[in-house]
């Protein structure tokens, strides 16, 4: 069934592809739009902006989120900024350069045409957000301010202090609220999608659990949009919000949507290190800190040991005894190398024994130079809230001593396979934002997740989905009494009954922690054939143990957070297994995916373009059956594929 992987990339020059595709797409007459129903699952930047824009066009939209309000989606936690090729700094930025940086940052595993479109619409996103009242940082003349992020040599990141995601989400949420008030969008907070409903091979609705009453509810539509983010919480400890999960996407996979590049997970270099085994969540410190912060570990082992025993403060280590290892290894980009490179370099130093906190798993991020150079006031304006946050958590002030940081799971580049129109292999099912796979390849550059969520939601999906819907307005509304809904609801009910029936002894969280340990150990920053095979076996064993011994207290017909977690963990087991399988198949090092079998003599990642320059799209074949791998070859017509070099 390889013919399902039709990417629909338009012919012609790169810069004209999106314009060409837009001119080919069919339209829906305004009078007919109100007859068409669209379900949007998720209210982060992608979901909220899509639902608002579709509502504004006149479609009948139902929008779902698991939180008590759409505003709480995890996009809100993005700190540093959003990229756009505005060239306001006159530093020779351009659409092409943003495109090129993103493709290169992604280690040549994303689609040229999709990435170019992303760069192309990026400028309009900033215009849109400013018009909505997003208070981006301004210079004294009133013009927009910019800063730099990893993997680039221009300054194109727009920001609102360290709360950019929050402000962009509040903008999209406001646009959504306007449509809810206008009656074009109906909002269903505290609802969790548990299954996709298909009729005649097309996506026609969802089964959702009302998280307050516990009842299963059916919702029909002419098309379904998945905007539920990534699956980073497979690792238990991550920077994702506690409730972020991969279940909606996973249910689509089990209904036939291909899942692409699941092994591409991003490990963010600047997180607050793990402090003990009572922890359930890791906190990110924005990448923007690497603009002015310098990363180091001691050169001398005796200093490392004294630091661990608290005999000396980091600020007392003299300059000449510090190893600014990123500046040493990557002089051209220094502290602003891409995330995957920075994370591996931190691991390399810690593995060599130079990690600085009690666990030996931390490096310093130091602002003393920046404070000297810029003064207290300007550092306060740029990073004040991040410094406060660090102080609250660690009881150490970054004004006096360097921060301690360590890499942690942050984002997943893999996701549901989509074509150029963002449609999945299931007709009528679309996936946007982090939930799809298309734009970031093997590694996402900083400040690009917000860009992609809003590009998809404001400017791409509302245009492309019309093409699918253009001949659907004459069809009657989807009947939620159709046997397909009946069956889907029954299947979900059976899953829930099974979980309550186990009555075991282990809590859901304790089992999730075990899964997280397997994932971090074998499917983390360094992966090997042996380890990955072991991970697959261990996950299978743990999953079997879960169905023997998990304890889900309470009942279905009530607000029950343990049941919510148990249902998500069922899917995390399967996602984890597919991630390991995909990582095993991809015997090359590429972006965030590092196979120890594939490295240079200096320990840098070694890509294998001859054998792996493709998107790995996995097809579900049934419970306990091996999934089938389909390959979408990646063609680079407009850029030269090179080895990533951040050294010179």
């Amino acid at each position: 069934m390889a013919d399902k992987l039709i990417s629909k990339i338009p012919d012609g020059p790169l810069a004209e592809k999106w314009t060409k595709r837009k001119s080919e797409l069919r339209l829906v007459n305004p009078n007919n739009r109100r007859k068409l129903e669209i379900i949007v699952v998720g209210t982060g930047l992608g979901g909220a902006s899509a639902a608002a824009s579709l509502g504004e066009l006149g479609y009948n939209v139902k929008v779902f989120c698991i939180s008590d309000s759409p505003r709480r989606a995890h996009s809100i936690a993005a700190q540093g900024g959003i990229n756009a090729a505005k060239n306001y700094q006159n530093d020779n930025d351009a659409v092409y350069r943003l495109f090129y940086d993103t493709i290169k940052g992604g280690d040549y595993r994303s689609r040229e045409a999709n990435v170019y479109r992303l760069a192309e619409v990026s400028a309009a996103i900033i215009d849109q957000c400013v018009a909505q009242g997003v208070p981006f940082a301004r210079e004294y003349g009133g013009y927009l301010a910019n800063r730099s992020f990893g993997g680039v040599q221009v300054s194109r990141t727009f920001y609102a202090r360290g709360q950019t995601g929050q402000q962009l989400l509040l903008g999209a949420y406001a646009a959504l609220n306007r449509q809810i008030a206008a009656g074009t969008v109906t909002s269903y907070p505290r609802h969790e999608m548990l299954d996709l409903v298909m009729i005649d091979g097309q996506a026609k609705g969802i089964i959702a659990r009302n998280l307050v009453t516990g009842k299963l509810e059916r919702f029909g539509a002419h098309a379904v949009v998945i905007a539920t983010g990534g699956y980073g919480n497979t690792y238990f400890l991550s920077t994702n919000a506690m409730n972020s999960n991969g279940s909606a996407a996973w249910q689509c996979y089990k209904k036939g949507a291909y899942f692409a590049n699941p092994c591409f997970a991003q490990i963010h270099p600047t997180c607050i290190p793990v402090h003990g085994d009572q922890q359930c969540k890791l906190t990110l410190m924005s990448e923007s800190l690497r603009n002015d912060g310098r990363i180091w570990v001691p050169k001398k082992m005796e200093d490392v040991l004294r630091l661990r025993k608290h005999e000396v403060k980091p600020s007392q280590i003299p300059e000449e005894d510090r190893d600014y290892y990123l500046e040493r290894r990557y002089p051209a980009f220094g502290n602003l190398v891409p995330r995957d490179v920075a994370s591996r370099a931190a691991k390399e130093r810690c593995d060599a024994g130079y990690g600085v906190n009690e666990t030996g798993l931390a490096v310093f991020l130091d602002f003393s130079d920046a404070i000297k150079r810029l003064g207290h006031q300007r550092v306060q304006e740029r990073y004040g809230n991040l410094f406060d946050m660090y102080y609250k958590i660690n009881n150490v002030s970054p004004w006096e001593e360097p921060m301690m940081i360590y890499p942690a799971i942050h984002y997943t580049m893999g996701g549901i396979w989509v074509d150029y129109d963002l449609q999945t292999t299931i007709p009528g099912l679309y996936a946007i934002g982090e939930a799809n796979f298309s734009d970031h390849g093997g590694n996402r550059l900083g400040a690009s997740a917000l860009m992609q969520g809003l590009a998809d939601g404001y400017f791409v999906l509302p245009v492309t989905i019309a093409d699918y819907l253009s001949n659907k307005f004459a069809e009657p509304k989807t009947d939620i009494n159709d046997p397909a809904f009946e069956q889907a609801e029954k299947d979900v009910q059976a899953r829930i009954d099974r979980l309550f029936g186990i009555k075991g002894k282990q809590t859901v969280d304790s089992m999730h922690k075990k899964l997280g340990n397997i994932m971090w150990e074998y499917v983390g920053m360094a992966r090997s054939e042996e380890g990955l095979k072991k991970a697959i076996e261990e996950i299978k064993k743990l999953k079997a143990e879960f169905y023997e011994d998990v304890c889900v207290p309470g009942n279905q017909g009530e607000f029950n957070q343990e049941l919510e977690k148990a249902l998500r963990l069922e899917d995390f087991f399967e996602i984890g297994e597919l991630m390991a399988r995909d990582a095993l198949n991809r015997n090359e090092s590429c972006g965030g995916h590092f196979r120890i079998e594939s490295q240079t003599e200096e320990g840098e990642a070694k890509r294998d373009d001859a054998n792996y320059m493709y998107v790995a799209a996995w097809e579900y074949k049934g419970e306990d059956k091996e999934p089938e791998l389909h390959k979408e070859p990646l063609k680079y017509e407009f850029i030269e594929v090179k080895t990533r070099n951040y050294k010179d």
Binding site: A52, S67, D68, S69, R71, R72, H74, A77, Y88, A124, I126, D127, Q128, A131, Q132, G133, P135, F136, A137, R138, E139, Y140, G141, G142, Y143, L144, A160, Q163, G165, Q166, Q167, L170, A174, A175, N177, R178, S187, V212, H275, G276, Q278, Q279, C280, K281, T283, L284, E381, M389, N395, Y458, F459, P462, T507, S510, P553, G554, E558, F559, Q561, E562
Partner: protein, 259 residues
């Protein structure tokens, strides 16, 4: 560290609630308040599972429900009224950023939901704050269509104005202001949004209308009037100033005069 936790338990919106007391031991002082509750819940699930513990009189209300999500102090999902203060004893933090080092070893800690007639209890410590969404739907936006915007640098905004707007926009919509206010007023919440947009040129055309509609919706939904005691400002995890309430009042009055 060891603690006695006196926690509000309530099965659902209809049934009466009550306090239950639990003992918890071995908490690290670097653990967050919510991590401590996670550990308590692990304990409650295990005890609820253990026939011996149940026979000993172990409470069978099951794990404690509480809202939480990002645990980075930004999503606004967590709430909790801890020892008589919204988000507990530390200043300018949400509950997820409250750490156990702020409590004395052996202390008894009282944990209640945010209480307000406009925030009905769903279960235990979880309340329904959808009234906040409804207030924002009444006008907390700028009416701009997707794709209709001009170049972002065509709207010049002085640095100080943008910073002030950002101060107000930092509101996370947690509801601490309402839970703290004697009158259960949502003035600080409404003011934060109205003021943030009113400070920007692109927010001016609808400023008066926005203030009028949002205040009317707030009153309709059962929130009380402002007490002018500044209690909200004291407890706001984001330190939002009541100066924004003054700006809301100005916009509201100008709406009245223009009618």
């Amino acid at each position: 560290m060891d603690f006695n936790l006196k926690i509000w338990r309530q099965k659902n919106a209809r049934e009466k609630g009550h306090f239950e007391t639990y003992h918890i031991a071995g908490i690290e002082e670097d653990a967050s308040f919510l991590e401590m509750l996670d550990i308590l819940n692990e304990q409650l699930i295990r005890e609820g599972n253990d026939p011996v513990a149940v026979k000993r009189g172990c409470q069978s209300s099951g794990p404690v429900s509480f809202d939480h999500d990002c645990r980075e102090g930004i999503c606004g999902a967590c709430s909790l009224y801890i020892d008589g203060r919204a988000h507990g004893p530390d200043d300018h933090v949400t509950t997820c950023q409250l750490f156990m080092r702020h409590f004395k070893d052996g202390a008894t800690i009282t944990v209640e939901p945010f209480r307000s007639p406009a925030f009905p209890i769903i279960k235990d410590l979880v309340v329904d704050r959808s009234a906040f969404d409804k207030i924002l739907q009444a006008g907390g936006f700028i009416s701009v269509r997707t794709g209709a915007a001009q170049d972002a640098n065509c709207i010049l905004i002085p640095h100080e104005k943008a910073e002030k707007s950002m101060d107000a926009a930092a509101c996370v919509g947690c509801g601490a202001c309402v839970a703290t206010c004697k009158n259960g007023s949502a003035m600080l919440f409404v003011a934060a949004r109205v003021s943030s947009l009113a400070l920007l040129p692109q927010g001016r055309p609808e400023a008066a209308r926005r203030a009028r509609n949002m205040v009317a919706k707030m009153e309709e939904l059962g929130f009380g009037g402002c007490t002018n005691t500044r209690a909200c400002e004291m407890e706001c995890p984001k330190g939002i100033s009541i100066e924004h309430i003054s700006r809301l009042n100005r916009e509201f009055l100008s709406a009245k005069f223009s009618e």
